[in-house]
Amino acid sequence: YEDPPGLVEKTDFLLREWINIYNSQHQGRDSTKAFSIFVHQMNVHGILKTDDLITRFFRLSTQLCVETVYRALLDKSNANMTLIRPKCYHTLDAFVRLVSLLVKHSGDANNTTTKIHLLNKVLGIVAGCLLQDHDTRTVDFQQMPYQRIFTMLFLELNAPEPILEAINLHVLTAYCHTFHILRPSKAAGFCYAWLELISHRVFIGRMLATTPQQKCWSLYAQLLVDLFRYLAPFLRNAELAKPVTMLYKGTLRVLLVLLHDFPEFLCDYYYGFCDVIPPNCIQMRNLILSAFPRTMRLPDPFIPNLKVDMLPEISYAPRINTNISLTISPAQFKKDLDSYLKARAPVTFLSELRSNLQISNEPGVRYNISLMNALVLYVGTQAIAYIRNKGLTPSMSTIAHSAHMDIFQNLTVDLDTEGRYLFFNAMANQLRYPNSHTHYFSCTFLYLFAEANTEVIQEQITRNPTYKFWQHQFVHCAPEIEKLFESVARSCF
């Protein structure tokens, strides 16, 4: 860094000055008055002379504040955390206040560019300091100072003021970029603070509720994908260690709030979420798949003779915010797929299908799950269009004997148990609130069951009694298995 001689001392001096001003009683709540005097002092000390010096000032200030917090937190003589923390807050909040005033007053009043430029600079600096600290201290890293800086700065920049309203979308975007940079897979030691930051009530409110035209939804979805990606390897194996259980519970809480308040958000981005959540993570996936638009009145699934075909919603396609065809690769495979769907050629397509999906021979990680998911949804949507073009609607008879069904039947028969599990999961991910995908894939599931030539396939699809499930041998293969099926069945029906 080679800071110019004396800059550290100068920064330290100025920062202390400001912290004293900010916390002095007679200032009361409004430190704006002192701010202009302080900026003059910064000028006198040459801090604002160049962009580089400003950058150094913020970096050094961040580090000085963080060091102060580390010293306080590690001060063994005073173990009372409820006394130590407020002291830390006074230091951190003062620094945040300075940053927010500088952002608000940089450039002239209605020039948003300089404000956003400065904000991005500061967020970048704090993130950089965090990552460096995280990599240096590793297991001794403390989340609190950084969480506090990000939270308080966000609250400051989201106060109901006209200047701030004008730059709010930029503030949210800058924050999302910063949180993406600091995602748990990059800073695992910051993961709890990170989850709390992205689920803070003011952050959720701004991202998902008040910003018009859902402009921030895709940004927020990206953050959730970051979280699921990080959790995936730990959730993949069912035994959860305490740290993972804590993060998992926290994630469920956030998902429940989203399910309750923003079900349309989960509906729109379900595909991307389910694509990165381990298939065996049934509870979390079901939370996302159970979301349905608030305007929809769901039919009671337990009505004995529910006529799904009569529901008007089953002809509407759900909104999907992922471009599925882009995720099918390599390009040659996509080309072959399209040509097979069009003309059932090349004939070798079906026999090569499994090798396109298989990436290794190691059990548990044999298949490219994303490709499997994309293939299933892509073929399914093509099938629905194909049936509609013929003026028909999906039903047990219209979905049969088509190139699409060839592919699904091939996958059912040709894949091993692991592959079939992933394939059926990819289909099960489409069974949601009444819509054309739910309808098509539920028909397809039942068709595959009826056409299945081995019981192992049937067992993996459904246990519904109307398919004489209880007469199959695998139900009676052992007394405890029989008992298990009976207790599960009793709880369902």
């Binding site: 909040d93 890293f141 939270t151 609250l155 695992a188 993961c191 990080y230 390897p233 730990f234 548990g364």
Partner: protein
């Protein structure tokens, strides 16, 4: 059917860092503005105490059923929060008026002797937040423009 997948080296390192962080979980007050009197500091109480906020305890109806003294407590000790706002609303429902210059709540003690566009003069009860008690003030002139 997927079976377990051993964690890769990278994930083991991540787990180590996560585990260390697990022993420094964020504290509820970390994400709140500094509260002068009642910070968000949950403390463990016996399980037979009420653990969750009372039903509807964040609604105006709930606050209107609180005693006046309690409302004053909430107003002065929970400033800048929704609780202060709800307490102010409830006090107004009980005919208290907040005087922005004296920063005190006033209520008519009896029908004022003089009432005109700008003020009314009479005897008032006011709440002295420094001495923390209600007081009576004779002949007090209540200027409207200071009326919050």
């Amino acid at each position: 059917p997927l079976g377990a997948v051993p964690l890769q080296k990278e994930h083991q390192q991540q787990f180590q860092l996560m585990e260390a962080a697990y022993y420094h979980m964020p504290h509820p007050s970390d994400t709140e503005r500094i509260r002068t009197y009642l910070p968000r500091n949950p403390c463990n109480t016996p399980s037979y105490y009420i653990q969750a906020p009372l039903f509807n305890s964040d609604t105006p109806e709930f606050y209107q059923r609180l005693g006046t003294e309690t409302l004053f407590f909430v107003f002065y000790y929970m400033e800048g929060t929704k609780a202060q706002y709800l307490a102010a609303k409830a006090l107004k429902k009980q005919s208290w008026r907040f005087h922005t210059k004296y920063m005190m709540w006033f209520q008519r003690h009896e029908e004022p002797k003089i009432i005109n566009e700008e003020y009314e003069q009479g005897t008032y009860i006011y709440f002295d937040y420094e001495k923390w008690g209600q007081r009576k003030k004779e002949g007090f002139t209540f200027e409207y423009k200071y009326l919050e």
